[in-house]
């Protein structure tokens, strides 16, 4: 019992300070409060995998008991997480299904399914026909690509009258870039009816371009985002719907898993983690999948104030 209270659990996120991870920190803090453990969250100042490596090195050096990591670039973290596990640290990851050096990787959902879920809404809005384009934060981001690939696969299987136009458009996780890319797509493909974004800023940029042209009703825009970012465009209808998972819950779940690993408890298929969306997890090797996505539109956005 005494040792349970003295555990240090560091949650290392991709980048410090942004809403997404601030929300996650709420979950981490809630966990710390409820369990009395020293659970805290850190993140690098710049979105660079190497900075995250350095940060984890420092965490290992100061002797934490568990690491809950949201990798910027999973491959890049393999060696350092390997060292962490060798040092006897319990490692949990999130959004990194292919991660080798981890006890468990927690996925809010199967990425392809989430992308298909967005596509399903997009297709419904478009009436199952017309041109659409897709956006990713960066071509190097694995999850973004999985979402988009899942969406495209879903469209090809179910909506033969829809056509994808152009490449995956890269927005560098920047609303301004998403805006100019969207403008360009609108110019290059004047008949376009739908757009799907991946980075949380994508739909904001797309929504702005749509609103500027007064095409709110003529187009359908869906994507991953947060109400705090996309809210104003959901209100005007420039963006029709967003999907996400609640990072606070994910943060709490990671820390919970970390404690389970430290205590040697088994994680099993169909287990209930006692958190919304993770009531009946499915286990595939080391990867734990929940069904924790949330679809939000103008009607229910008030329920998610972050």
């Amino acid at each position: 019992a005494a040792e349970a209270h003295s555990k240090n659990i560091a949650t290392v996120v991709k980048i410090a300070g942004i809403q997404w991870f601030n929300r996650m920190e709420e979950g981490v803090n809630k966990f710390a409060e409820e369990t009395g453990m020293n659970a805290f969250q850190v993140g690098p100042a710049q979105a660079d995998p190497q900075q995250q490596v350095a940060l984890i090195e420092d965490m290992i050096a100061q002797g934490v008991d568990a690491l809950a990591v949201v990798p910027m670039s999973p491959e890049a973290l393999e060696p350092v997480l390997g060292r962490a596990m060798e040092a006897g640290i319990a490692v949990i990851t999130h959004e990194a299904a292919a991660q080798q050096n981890t006890a468990y990787d927690l996925e809010a959902f199967v990425n392809e399914d989430f992308g298909a879920n967005l596509m399903e809404q997009l297709a419904t809005c478009m009436g199952g026909e017309g041109e659409y384009a897709v956006f990713v934060g960066s071509l190097t981001s694995q999850t973004h690509n999985q979402w988009v690939d899942g969406a495209i696969a879903h469209q090809e299987a179910n909506y033969p009258n829809m056509t994808l136009v152009g490449d995956k458009n890269e927005t560098f996780d920047d609303a301004e870039q998403a805006y100019t890319k969207a403008q360009e797509v609108l110019r290059a493909f004047p008949n376009i009816k739908g757009m799907q974004g991946s980075a949380s800023t994508d739909v904001a940029g797309i929504g702005r371009a749509i609103e500027e042209r007064g095409m709110e009703d003529a187009t359908c825009v869906f994507g991953t985002s947060l109400p705090s970012i996309a809210g104003q465009y959901l209100e005007t209808g420039a963006v029709d719907g967003i999907g996400f998972w609640d990072p606070a819950v994910a943060g709490e779940a990671m820390n919970k898993l970390a404690v389970m690993v430290m205590n040697g408890e088994e994680v099993t298929d169909g287990m209930d983690l006692g958190l919304p969306g993770y009531e009946s997890i499915s286990l595939d090797g080391k990867v734990i999948y929940g069904q924790a996505w949330v679809n939000v539109n103008a009607d229910n956005m008030a329920d998610y104030p972050f």
């Binding site: 300070g17 660079d48 190497q50 490596v53 973290l77 060696p79 060292r83 071509l139």
Partner: protein, 337 residues
């Protein structure tokens, strides 16, 4: 007289002030967090962390000595790493016996170094033959190199190496991390090049007055090309370390290292307009940065504050240096008659 003069030059050199800063930061962190900062664990951890960007700072240093700059170092590092990684994943099976994979590893290393040299050659030609300002030449070429890395990989990471690759970035020899050994070697090599070879002297002299270098019949084009090739080679070594430490290669690794490398070089006393700079200064600047950075992480100071502190340190050092220079100016200008 000579004794007195030499002690005076040592203490008045900007590098001496950097030494004081490095020692001070180390002391401060040790006092603030004695059990953790001074732990062997932390010391090795730091030794693993800094070599990759420190080597990039060395590459920056030699180009700055000529009054240039190399903004393509990160692009070159990633491009060489990607090429090496592609060779390793195409030809070397992770399951391959170590003796065989070593051959492929050496081949991949050679290829990476070639890419580094080639990229340096491109930069050198742009600066020397086409007369582009280095800041723009390397900004543009850096985009091109990164772009090639993206195009070759489609933007995703290349991974799945034999275990031997891990040696470059993660192994220790006699308890000393291999990256640190590589950095130390390169720093010594660069120091010797700059102070003990004709080429090194020419580099500094050219930086001090390019026109006079032309009139002194120095082969400027060849010298500039060599400078950028060396910078490219150093960058590719950094790329290999990053690749090994990340067990993968990707076009956007280390993107925050560019400004860091410039900052370290300048903090290390290198004159970005050319003509002055010493490797020891750069090494001390790297150490100060790493002590500060790891120490602040232990104290759980926000990482944004770290950026603030770096910037403030840079300006502080400059203010001290400049003022010391004004005060000392007279001591050089001895009466000629």
């Amino acid at each position: 007289m000579t004794d007195h003069a030499s002690t005076k030059t040592i203490t008045s050199a900007p590098e001496f002030r950097l030494l004081i800063i490095a020692v001070f930061v180390f002391g401060l962190m040790s006092v603030l967090s004695p059990d953790r900062f001074l732990s062997a664990q932390n010391l090795t951890s730091m030794a693993f962390q800094f070599p990759e960007f420190a080597i990039l700072a060395l590459a920056m240093t030699i180009t700055m000595l000529t009054g240039g700059i190399d903004l393509s170092v990160v692009g070159v590092a990633n491009l060489s790493a990607v090429v090496a990684a592609i060779i390793l994943t195409q030809f070397a099976d992770p399951a391959m016996p170590a003796s065989q994979s070593v051959i492929w590893l050496s081949f991949a290393i050679a290829a990476a170094l070639c890419i580094g040299a080639l990229a340096g050659l491109v930069n050198g030609c742009l600066v020397a033959f086409f007369g582009l300002p280095p800041i723009l030449a390397t900004l543009g070429s850096g985009l091109v190199f990164t772009g090639f890395a993206i195009a070759m990989t489609g933007g995703s990471a290349v991974m799945g190496f034999p275990d031997t690759v891990a040696v470059i970035g993660n192994a220790q020899v006699l308890g000393i991390p291999v990256p640190l050994i590589l950095f130390a070697l390169l720093a010594i090599v660069l120091h010797l090049i700059l102070t003990r070879t004709a080429f090194g002297l020419r580099v500094t002299m050219f930086g001090a007055n390019p026109l006079a270098a032309l009139y002194a019949a120095i082969d400027i084009n060849r010298m500039l090309i060599k400078v950028y090739v060396i910078a490219g080679l150093f960058s590719s070594v950094a790329g290999l370390i990053i690749m090994s430490r990340a067990n993968s290669a990707k076009a956007d690794y280390g993107s925050s290292y560019l400004l860091l490398a410039v900052l370290i070089a300048v903090l290390g006393g290198v004159n970005p307009y050319g003509g002055y700079g010493r490797v020891i200064g750069v090494v001390l600047a790297v150490l100060s940065m790493q002590f500060l950075s790891s120490g602040l992480n232990m104290l759980q100071v926000s990482n944004f504050a770290r950026e603030l502190i770096w910037g403030a340190l840079l300006i502080l050092v400059m203010v001290i240096n400049t003022h010391a220079v004004t005060a000392l100016r007279g001591s050089f200008a001895k009466t000629p008659k």
